[in-house]
Amino acid sequence: MDTPSGAGRPAAGPTARRGRPGLHPAVRYLGGRVLTAVVSLLAVMVTSFFLFRVLPGDPVAALTQGRSVSVDQLEAMRRDFGLDQPLPQQFVDYCLGMMTLDFGMSYQYRVPVSELIAERLGPTLLLAGTGTVIAAVLGLVLGTRSGWRRGSLMDRVDTGIALTLWSVPSFWLGLLLIVLLASGAGLFPTSGMSSPGVEGTFAVALDVAHHMVLPVATMVAVVYAQYMMIMRSSVLDEMGADYLTTARAKGLRDAVVLRRHAVPNALLPTVTLIFLNLGRVVSGVILIETVFAWPGLGSLFYSGLRVPDLPIVQALFVVFAGSVIIMNLLADLVYPLLDPRVRT
């Protein structure tokens, strides 16, 4: 769905264009990146409009399914939604709306989509953000250790566990945790973000944290493997490097060699991954949000797709893809700071 062009390492980076006269290389680098991002964003906007119109199903028919409605009512709804307009006209309206961040009215909730998104953004950022940070830290730590001690029992066990969890479907793991820890042991609430009737800032924070444990744990368990495996392999890449031998020759302890020398170099690819995933934080974790009835963007998208509630899915598609593009851009911009080789 996301990950447009220009992800990952800036492989076709500035070196390819070196030697052209005129702009300062840094400005050129920056300009190029921003331009790519803008073009991608426009492409996403156009795609979003047509993509969801290809979806089968008529929103009006879906919304009124199984209810007694007259033909006049159906036509009135179509008019309301602007679906009676010819496609080119709809496209123009859509583009004009996007320019002013007016995403239109949701068909099913009859409120502006921007309001819905604003309402749901917080819970998603909270859940997916926390999950991503924990998964990244956990993955980096475990990956470093595994890479440094490749082939050891610890490496094999850690990698095995991570890959097993990585291949587990998140909704299944979520349900399992609910069965074991929520309804079974009664340690956590089964779903939702808060309990009704809890008041006071501290109590509410505790209550939300309590509700968050299982969804965050599910998310971390399923995704930390990717950080771990990338960190592990980049540590392995650095293992044979001469500078490590030098560092050891200076008499540094093994742990210090790892921390001061190997890890900073090995971090680069992982940082890119983290940035990409930060973009994806916004799109939430649809299945996890559904299992735990978490009121976030993911479940909004899910409910929008079922109709299809075009204004919702279009806007969310643009928001999801846009956040990935922007994070990508940020990663590209931060890269030179982390890696002098890209600066030139």
Binding site: P56, D72, Q73, V157, I161, S191, M193, P196, R259
Partner: protein
């Protein structure tokens, strides 16, 4: 950020000494987060901190709108039944019309004028009394403002004029006689609150809580996409509810709902699968309710899609125009097998179009009319009609078309999917090849509207008044142009239409109307275009340690969720010592305490170790 000396390990199975501090840290963190479990554990149980008896219902859908003019989803209309009163209501035991806001009514001889007397003891929750003006305003607004007709416009489309003659009398003039005048499922809203609202099309009635209503409960809170809270209306003119508070919690995942029920976090779940119902039957403190379904499940056959003007379109199999083939298809299907294999016995094999729970209108064919499962008979019918088997065992129609039929099945309905597989097998037995297209409902709906299908699954929820579900099979329901159909079959039969008009005209003679409706069902059955296979039971469960008793509709054998009326929630009685099922068990407390101790101890130990080796590290 990365400190290899301080790794956190989630799992056991590795050398302990180097990882002690990490493990300890992780466990401490987990323990801290789990700590609220001790203080705030599951407050959603039956009795909340303030001592109010609370009934929590799991909702599978989010609320679309709280405005009675806009709300279309079952969750929202069910909430409106609790918060607003209607002109008339349905008896909880028999489904028959009983007085609501209208305590009595009469009609003119031509059936075009209806006069309702509004009761004088009904009040809005803000203290104003409910008058005929409120009723007239609600109906008039729906006829005058298009956006106010969004949800319930069909009820008033035929209204010529609505007038409040005095405070307690409403007179409605109709253009034509209407069967649903005692089944107007329209929440009456307070004029003094609603008249100042500008655009009814974008007003969702979810800003000023509590929301002024006149039902047994008052809506007091709404967390979008999370929950809706209602409080008992102590001034309700019928008996006020026994529960003080009613909470609808949105939980999209059915399995998660069941787990929440087990945990005692919610009091009631609906829409269970047979497997879930079986599992919950043996759970202590849970009662499973099996009710006769309001829905039928079946399929329609494409008899040749055409518009009202007779313009044919689509590409339905030409042989399906032959009634013999359609009837042979029905004789090849084993409904009992479907009941057993698909619904685990939680369904009834169906014949008539209207489910058995509505015994006034339900129809069963006589022995000589029945199209029961008999593959031998089906084969004979086809042989005699000239459908010969080809070399591959698949029959060919007299016109030379091979009997390969497309079957569209909703992929989001496990029962339909399983039913589809059985049907494909059974039809194979009589030489009909099925191209099973289990697809997204959107794809299915597109195929239906384009007339590009042969067999297609369907199902409707039938109201106590069957007018609407009968009306969708009149010739009038055919599309005016291809793609605009509101029905689920291209059925058109003059006899049926004549009977439809007659049942409308006999609205005041229930006996005669029921007979007419039964004859209509007989036509549907014999034509075999609209085919009903089962009436699946509604499977629901509630915590009997929170709810002592609850009204089903109809009684006995009825359902709790989605009733025509507010009976289940307004009459539910709290259990005497409603036990929260989600109390943290003692062993868990002890275990958690031990974990915290170990974690703290481990942490201290690790710190000392690190301090000891600090110089070494520099």
């Amino acid at each position: 950020m990365v400190r290899p000396q301080d790794p956190a390990r989630p799992a056991a199975g590795a050398p302990k000494n180097r990882t002690a501090s990490g493990t300890a840290a992780a466990v401490t963190a987990a323990a801290l987060i789990a700590a609220p479990a001790l203080s705030a554990a599951a407050p959603a149980a039956a009795e909340t901190a303030d001592g109010a008896d609370t009934l929590t219902v799991a909702a599978s859908q989010p609320v679309d709108s709280l405005s009675p003019f806009l709300a279309q989803r079952l969750i929202s209309t069910s909430i409106h039944r609790l918060a607003y009163d209607y002109l008339t209501n349905y008896d909880p035991e028999t489904n028959e019309t009983i007085p609501g806001l209208a305590e009595s009514w009469k009609t003119s001889d031509d059936g075009l004028t209806w006069t309702y007397t509004i009761r004088d003891d009904a009040t809005w929750s803000d203290g104003e009394s409910v008058t005929a003006e409120d009723v007239a305003w609600t109906y008039t607004t729906m006829t005058e403002d298009e956006s106010a007709a969004t949800a319930n416009g069909t009820f008033v489309a035929n209204f010529e004029d609505v007038e409040a003659v005095d405070d307690s009398t409403v007179r409605i003039e109709l253009k034509q006689p209407q069967a649903t005048m005692l089944a107007l499922d329209i929440p009456i809203v307070p004029e003094h609150i609603w008249k100042d609202i500008g655009d009814l099309g974008s007003f969702n009635n979810d800003e000023d809580f509590p929301i002024v209503g006149s039902g047994p409960f008052v809506i007091t809170g709404h967390e979008p996409n999370q929950s809706i809270t209602l409080e008992a209306n102590e001034d309700y003119w019928r008996d006020p509810p026994e529960f003080d508070r009613l909470v609808f919690r949105y939980m999209p995942e059915q399995d998660a709902q069941v787990e929440a029920l087990r945990a005692g976090e919610i009091s009631f779940v609906s829409g269970l699968t047979p497997a879930q119902a079986d599992a919950l039957k043996d759970t202590e403190g849970v009662t499973v309710n099996t009710g006769d379904g309001k829905r039928f499940q079946g399929f329609t056959v494409n008899p040749g899609a055409a518009t009202r003007d007779g313009e044919e379109f689509g590409d339905g199999h030409p042989a399906l125009k032959d009634r013999v083939l359609r009837r042979a298809i029905m004789r090849a299907l084993d409904k009992d097998e479907i009941v057993e294999n698909v619904y685990g016995g939680y369904a009834q094999a169906a014949d008539g179009y209207i489910p058995a729970r509505y015994d006034t209108y339900h129809w069963t064919p006589r022995e000589s009319q029945r199209l029961d499962f008999d593959p031998g008979a089906a084969n004979r019918m086809l042989d005699e009609a000239g459908y010969e088997r080809g070399d591959d065992g698949v029959r060919v129609s007299p016109d030379g078309d091979r009997l390969k039929l497309r079957m569209h099945v909703h992929n989001d309905r496990p029962d339909y999917v399983a039913m589809g597989k059985l049907m494909a097998e059974r039809l194979g037995d009589i030489g009909i090849e099925i191209d099973n297209r289990t697809v997204d409902p959107g794809v299915l709906s597109d195929a239906l509207h384009a007339g590009e299908y042969d067999l297609i699954f369907t199902g409707w929820t039938v109201n106590p008044d069957p007018d609407y579900v009968l009306g969708i099979h009149t010739c009038d329901a055919l599309p005016s142009e291809p793609g605009t159909m509101r029905s689920d079959s291209y059925f058109c039969n003059e006899d049926y239409d004549r009977l439809y008009e007659r049942q409308l005209a006999t609205y005041d003679d229930p006996q005669a109307r029921a007979e007419t409706v039964e004859r209509m069902q007989r036509i549907l059955y014999e034509e075999a275009v609209v085919n009903v296979l089962t009436y699946a039971d509604t499977l629901e469960a509630y915590r009997s340690d929170q709810i002592a008793s609850i009204q089903v509709q109809p009684d006995p054998g009825g359902n709790i969720w989605g009733q025509d009326g507010h009976w289940s929630w307004s009459s539910a009685v709290p259990a005497a010592d409603s036990q929260a099922g989600a109390d943290v068990p003692v062993w868990a407390l002890a275990g958690l305490g031990a974990v915290v101790l170990v974690a703290v101890g481990g942490g201290v130990y690790a710190m000392r170790r690190r301090a000891a080796s600090a110089e070494d590290r520099e």
